[in-house]
């Protein structure tokens, strides 16, 4: 047991907790005035529901004893046996510290999906969906990658959640918008962000919290944490810059939304790689991620799916790129528990990463489609057209964000 490590992991958990309200602001600024509260609610209420669910059963399913490489057992249900002593395999911090750090990841991951179906989802359906999704999508994914499941055994590298958090939310977002359909007025009305300063503030909070997310994933106050901290920052910085350069060239103006979106794209891309790559490859990954995700958000206008706030373009594509790039740039010089990538003489790692990408996309996409169908039949998943036109704030919550 190490006091410094424990302090660092607890502080990191608090940083990751702050990302969820940060994400709420990031998304909230991009919707129309009538949906601001509904959008803030989608992220923030998950702090309520997912945290409790995690303590009751989620943590055990993800990190309990391995059953066939697929799911954890129920030994840690109700946090049974999760106390101040260390967890087997993580001997430097209390088991409770590890559990609560992981809890914050479980909270923000379904919150990421909410950007896709913003402005049209029914609140009761949303709550049921995220609850089911946590159990049947997130917990298995977390188990496969971090809980000793088949992806970990295969040797897939995912330092802080490229597959578990970003690809899973991106793939689920795509399934969600295809099931749900486009917002009323799509293509006829302009869905212009109502308050970009909120979005910029949210992006700043996300960037800040991401140090807990990535550096904290070292689970110790050591050199690896410092390395992950630096790669995280550099990738975000490079991507914020490359996004505005690309859009400046493409549309003639650099935008603040582009700067914020680029930073998030860089953070997403570096997440799986943060503890495996050196600083210069991190900058390169950020530069590529900014331009790539800019292209990613344009795809939706070609295929006419209404991914309202670009979860597929940024988290899906950015996470996929990050996972594959980890297979290129990873080096044991940074993390001896990791592996070498293609550029360090191990092409097989890229193949392993590719398999994890395909498996994550297929699993999360299919499961989300099934869950949407189930929820739709049980309680309904989309608000009525009347309610959608009124806005989620009044129709779902009986309040409005701005009294002017």
């Amino acid at each position: 047991m190490n006091a410094a490590d424990t302090a660092f992991v607890l502080i990191s958990a608090a940083l990751v907790m702050l990302m969820t309200p940060g994400l709420a602001l990031f998304y909230g600024g991009m919707v129309r005035t009538k949906n601001i509260l509904g959008t803030l609610m989608h992220s923030n209420i998950l702090l309520g529901t997912v945290s409790v669910l995690w303590a009751i059963v989620g943590y055990s399913l993800a990190f309990g004893g391995d059953i066939g490489g697929v799911i954890g057992n129920l030994d840690f249900m109700f946090l049974n046996g999760v106390g101040t002593a260390a967890k087997e395999g993580v001997d430097n911090i209390p088991h409770l510290a590890f559990m609560i750090f992981q809890c914050m990841f479980a909270v923000i991951t379904p919150a990421l999906i909410t950007g896709a179906f913003a402005e049209r989802i029914k609140f009761s359906g949303f709550l049921l969906f995220t609850t089911l999704w946590l159990i049947v999508v997130y917990c298995p994914m977390a188990h496969w990658v971090w809980g000793g499941g088949w992806m970990a055994k295969m040797g897939a590298l995912d330092f802080a959640g490229g597959a578990v958090v970003h690809m899973s939310s991106g793939a689920s977002a795509l399934a969600a918008v295809l099931y749900l359909g486009r917002r009323h007025g799509y293509g006829k009305q302009s869905f212009i962000p109502h308050n970009l300063p909120l979005t910029i503030l949210g992006a700043g909070i996300l960037w800040f919290g991401w140090f807990g997310f990535n550096a904290g994933s070292a689970l110790a106050a050591n050199g690896l944490a410092a390395s992950a901290f630096v790669t995280t920052h550099l990738a975000a910085a490079a991507a914020a810059f490359s996004w505005i350069i690309v859009e400046w060239w493409h549309r003639g103006k650099p935008t603040t939304l582009g700067m914020a979106s680029g930073a998030v794209a860089g953070l997403v891309a570096i997440t799986p790689a943060a503890g495996y790559v050196e600083p210069m490859p991190a900058i390169l990954m950020g530069l590529i991620a900014g331009g790539l995700c800019y292209g990613g958000v344009l795809i939706k206008s070609v295929f006419k799916y209404d991914d309202s706030l670009d979860v597929v373009g940024i988290h899906g594509l950015g996470g996929t790129f990050g996972a594959l790039a980890t297979g290129l740039f990873a080096t044991k010089a940074v993390n001896e528990l990791g592996a070498d990538g293609l550029f360090y003489g191990n092409p097989e790692q890229l193949w392993i990463q590719f398999v994890s990408v395909v498996a994550t996309w297929v699993f999360c996409f299919v499961m989300t489609l099934i869950l949407f169908k189930i929820v739709d039949v049980m309680v309904g998943i989309r608000v009525s057209q009347d309610d959608e036109i009124k806005g989620l704030d009044v129709s779902q919550h009986s309040e409005v964000g701005y009294q002017l």
Partner: protein, 112 residues
């Protein structure tokens, strides 16, 4: 009595107000409005998607003056608000039947 309504560029508001207070105008009502005329709108870009925004922000000033003062006031407003570019706005003039000061019950020119 005449009611003068002006719709013009927001940044011209202070200049117009100063000119009018110089002429002895003692009150006016100002609101922020949106609309379009020959100037049409502008383009906004969010994450690479272009949106045509038709309604541009303008200010609307409303004031009521004695008949004898109207011509001079209109001239002053036009002089202050004019840039010569499309988008300078419009002045609407109409006749007012009656004005009542709520506090005292005064009517007509005395109530302006």
């Amino acid at each position: 009595m005449k009611k003068i309504e002006v719709i013009t560029r927001p940044y011209k508001l202070d200049e117009i107000k100063e000119k009018l207070t110089g002429l002895g105008i003692k009150g006016m009502t100002v609101s922020e409005v949106k609309g379009f005329g020959r100037q049409r709108g502008h383009t906004e870009v969010y994450r690479g998607a272009e949106y045509q925004v038709d309604f541009v922000p303008k200010v609307k000033m409303e004031l009521v003056v004695e008949d004898g003062l109207a011509a001079e006031v209109i001239k002053a407003i036009q002089a202050a608000a004019q840039t010569g570019e499309v988008g300078d706005g419009k002045i609407f003039v109409s006749t007012i039947d009656e004005v009542i000061r709520i506090r005292t019950g005064e009517t007509g020119n005395a109530a302006i």
